[in-house]
Amino acid sequence: MTDTKNITPDTSVEICGVKFKNPVITASGTFGFGKEYAEFYDINLLGGICTKGITKERREGNPSPRVAETPMGMLNSVGLQNPGIEGFIKEDVPFLNTLGTVVIANVAGKTEEDYCYTVERASALDCVKMVELNISCPNVKAGGMAFGVLPESVEKITAAVKKHCSKPLMVKLSPNVANISDNARAAENGGADCLSLINTVSGMAIDWKSRKPILANVCGGLSGPAIKPIALKMVYETRKAVKIPVVGMGGIVTADDIMEFLVAGASAVQIGSANIFDPTAGLNLINELTNLMKRCSINSVREITGSLKI
């Protein structure tokens, strides 16, 4: 018999024809455009990178404070500060062109036209292998989550954007909805090639002594280990509702967390807040995942996806 503990596990996954060397993708908004973390480790080791949300025009985002620490989590209210598609192409694409990892462009907008324009520009770039449609940002007044709440609007925006997207389209779902399965099916019906979930959970933090909210924008999006159970349930439900691949995220900080998402039905995962807590989180998780697979005699991550027994 072969001793599987001596075999290097196969961590590679393929989603919509795009090959990832491992299932660890850094989540949008927590990894900038990659440069900052390249100072800490070789980010080419990552399965992929989701960029900060890109809009048609440059945006300054919300006023400060934009962050609050909460039990086992954090609230943020950045409000999609980004250099705009032109700034992205000028300032960030040259660096992304040098990378040997999958770059996923996260795109947000105010109007359907904005989304279509930015998706068309972003998906035409050589370095961009996939587009993630951000219809789930809770921190902007117009656009963002407004497109992502009702199943009808999810289907409409997905169908509109799909016509302008020359790369596989991943739709990022919001957890702040009545029924995640309905929204997942709506995105699939609109032509999404795969789904990612969950974006942050709407939340609030208050300093009762000053009678003031901690965030200048009053409310924000909750992330971190606090939301993992919510995310796992939604990945599980989404996996049952659709045929397209699902990328899971929400509070992953250990390799065991990654395994839980894979078992729930995710083909890959995104790492968000963990990057903020530790600049080397992505690299640590890849190493921990490989070691965990060796210890548990798992040959391939693909055999774990959707292996939940009920």
Partner: protein
């Protein structure tokens, strides 16, 4: 920037709720500059790191001033000698002085004095005059540190030590005599606003080190936005962590 393991070598109380921590590192630390900061993983239930300015440093040690203001800093205050923490350092631009800056005025308020103490370490060949303000005598710190490299004027709000009044008001009475080339400052927002008015009235350029709630500390997450006026008058959000923490005082919307 590097994520390094630091060991607590020594801690002492400077004033009520303010401690000095000296950490050592087994490996040689990256080159540091005055006004930069580090980002400490406090541990336990606290997931976000905590930023502290560099107070003193050399190749194998770094000393910080910690004001106990909440749960994270309370946990730090409970650390024992020998305990270890992870810290990203050094972060940010720090204070930069040019050849035209010969006479430097250091203006500190409370624990905000801490980042100013390392300026003469980086720039030993300048002339320094320090004005430091505290609420009351019991809160006075750092006087001996500033006295090492120039004259120091202590002010207290209640007059229980040094000269009575806000440090910015006292400085305003003296500034014509001192004629500094530049003011470097750090303190609470009302103090910084008063310093900004003083700088505008006297046409003496001033630079401040700011503080804000921080996320990643490496420039990626954009939660530490600082509203700054550009040359063309537009307002942009800069990252306090890597674009700052030092900004030209007149540019910052306080």
């Amino acid at each position: 920037m590097k994520d390094v393991r630091l060991k607590l070598k020594r801690k002492k109380t400077l004033a009520e709720g303010v401690l000095e921590f000296e950490f050592s590192s087994a490996e040689k630390l990256p080159q540091m500059h005055c006004g930069q900061f580090l980002h400490i993983k406090v541990g336990g239930e606290f997931l976000l790191r905590r930023p502290f300015c560099l107070y003193k440093y050399d190749d194998y040690s770094v000393t910080l001033i910690v004001a106990v203001v909440g749960g994270g800093t309370r946990r730090m205050a409970e650390m024992k000698e020998g305990d270890e923490v992870l810290a990203v350092l050094p972060i940010g631009n720090g204070f930069t002085l040019g050849a035209e800056h010969k006479k430097i005025l250091l203006l500190g308020g409370g624990v905000g004095c801490a980042p100013l103490v390392s300026v003469p370490l980086t720039y030993p060949d300048k002339e320094y005059v320090s004005y430091i303000g505290f609420s009351t005598e019991r809160a006075v710190m750092f006087k001996d540190e500033f006295a090492k490299f120039g004259s120091v004027t202590v002010c207290t709000d209640d007059g229980s030590a040094g000269r009575k009044g806000y440090v910015t008001d006292v400085l305003r009475q003296d500034i014509e005599k001192i004629k500094p080339d530049v003011i470097l400052t750090c303190g609470n927002t009302p103090m910084l606003k008063a310093a900004a008015r003083l700088s505008a009235d006297t046409k003496i350029p001033a630079y401040m080190s700011g503080e804000t709630r921080m996320g990643c500390g490496v420039g990626a997450c954009l939660v530490c936005a600082c509203a700054v006026k550009e040359k063309d008058g537009s307002i942009v959000h800069k990252r306090a962590c890597v674009d700052g923490p030092v900004f030209r005082l007149e540019d910052v919307l306080l």
